[in-house]
Symmetry: C2
Subunit: 268 residues, 2 copies
């Protein structure tokens, strides 16, 4: 096994009944329970490691049903439908007999076609020219990522003054680690809650559901190596306890690797 802290965190054991046993990782702890990105990566990994898997991940939806307690949990990934070159997965994680995560994934054998990125990477300074950002909340998982915010960093003064939720940042694993589907899944969840940025106000929050579309295949992820990704996120609406955001992640060469959206609970 790789000695990288991310690989240790997503390691899981295949059981004789086809399920996997995973474990929460103190290195990726959040305020309550683990960082959602590491839980999503564990769910993705159950598909990646599954002996029946066909093709590579193209889409993933993970729903956060309850905060995980520290310890082990069981992930069941089931190939609900296998076609000639595509496969649909239903994934469910249970802890102490109760469902804590649900999800679906779609994997496929992809073929070369015409293509174009309609969303271009925003113009911004090179990562080395952008200072590292820090958040006001010293959660453990934040230390597992190197973040260099270009726009929409965590507010330095919490005075309710925000007027846009747009964030653009360079980000990569800390320490650096070659990109793959599991780590990209987790990276899709590194954006601080949009409500913090938009309102410059700290309120209790929790991600409810996250969907990822993988535009890159494994070769393109591997070609990105351990370089920085440009991540951009922006909310569309905040209303009655839930807000969403849409986000994009490009590699340094400007290829759009993944697009993602999530819905987040907030209290106010």
């Amino acid at each position: 096994m790789s000695s990288h802290v991310f690989d240790q965190a997503i390691a899981m054991e295949l059981q004789t009944d086809g399920t996997f046993v995973g474990h929460t990782s103190p290195a990726y702890a959040n305020m309550v329970g683990p960082f959602g990105g590491i839980s999503a990566a564990q769910m993705m990994n159950a598909v990646l490691l599954h002996p029946q898997r066909l093709g590579e991940p193209v889409s993933l939806t993970i729903n956060f049903a309850a905060a995980l307690s520290h310890g082990s949990f069981v992930i069941e990934a089931r190939a609900a439908r296998t076609n000639r070159s595509t496969q649909h997965w239903i994934i469910e994680a249970r802890q102490n007999g109760e469902t804590v995560l649900t999800g679906t994934a779609f994997t496929a054998l992809r073929r070369d076609t015409w293509g174009v990125d309609e969303d271009s990477m925003p113009l911004c300074p090179a990562p080395q020219q952008v200072p590292k950002g820090t958040g006001p909340i010293p959660m453990e998982w934040v230390k597992r990522y190197e973040m260099r915010p270009v726009a929409g960093a965590m507010p330095e003064v919490w005075d309710g003054s925000g007027d846009s939720s747009l964030t653009q940042l360079w980000v990569r694993d800390n320490p650096p680690r070659p990109l793959d589907f599991a780590s990209l899944t987790a990276l899709c969840d590194v954006f601080f809650p949009r409500v913090f940025v938009r309102r410059a106000t700290l309120v209790p929050i929790g991600t409810v559901t996250m969907t990822i579309y993988f535009h890159a295949d494994l070769l393109q992820l591997q070609a990105s190596g351990s370089e920085y990704l440009m991540g951009q996120a922006r909310a569309q609406a905040f209303r009655n306890g839930y807000f969403d955001h849409t986000a994009q992640l490009w590699n340094e060469a400007g290829a759009l690797l993944a697009t993602t959206q999530q819905l987040v609970y907030y209290k106010s």
Copy 2:
């Protein structure tokens, strides 16, 4: 039962084992199998009609695993986790014993909070001032919607000339029908394939997965009545057989009712 064709199409019967039996509707037929929006609405309806449902829909993801054959199918909606004011659903539809649709949904009791729409409705002429659009493909389901494209209509000449996938259109049920969660679910899928608009080229396509975030509650949907919605959709990337799009739907008063994204297979 309402005599509206949409209500007839999504009608289903609760079985003694807690599953529902639904039926494909010739009125919503697509090229191969039914319009994806009507299948998504049927999956949503299995949660809406479920005796154990808590709260209103806030998010929904539907995966299209196989084209449905004409006839009946069984939908199983299972409350995987019920919390104090939220609930997570796993939904699966089978036809002739094989999985054809999978999905997850999140329902919740919502409470008044601070809120803002960050995405504003685009400036555009009133629906009555915009001519009805027609597509080149006379599929049955298209007749069930009144569409008035403001920008990015179906190309009139298929010459490979497109340079943007943006579409903005006024849309409502035909004949008009008061908005609810089921009809809004279907309306989230009315956008013609972005690859047609971007390339002005007809290629085989099929939606793989669609996610919807409902920002409105039932009262706000009911307040929208049977008026038009402004729908906007744009692709982010086209690559190796799959493209995505993100879309927004506002009511005539300019409130953002839902945001949605989908991933679509294309051949070229």
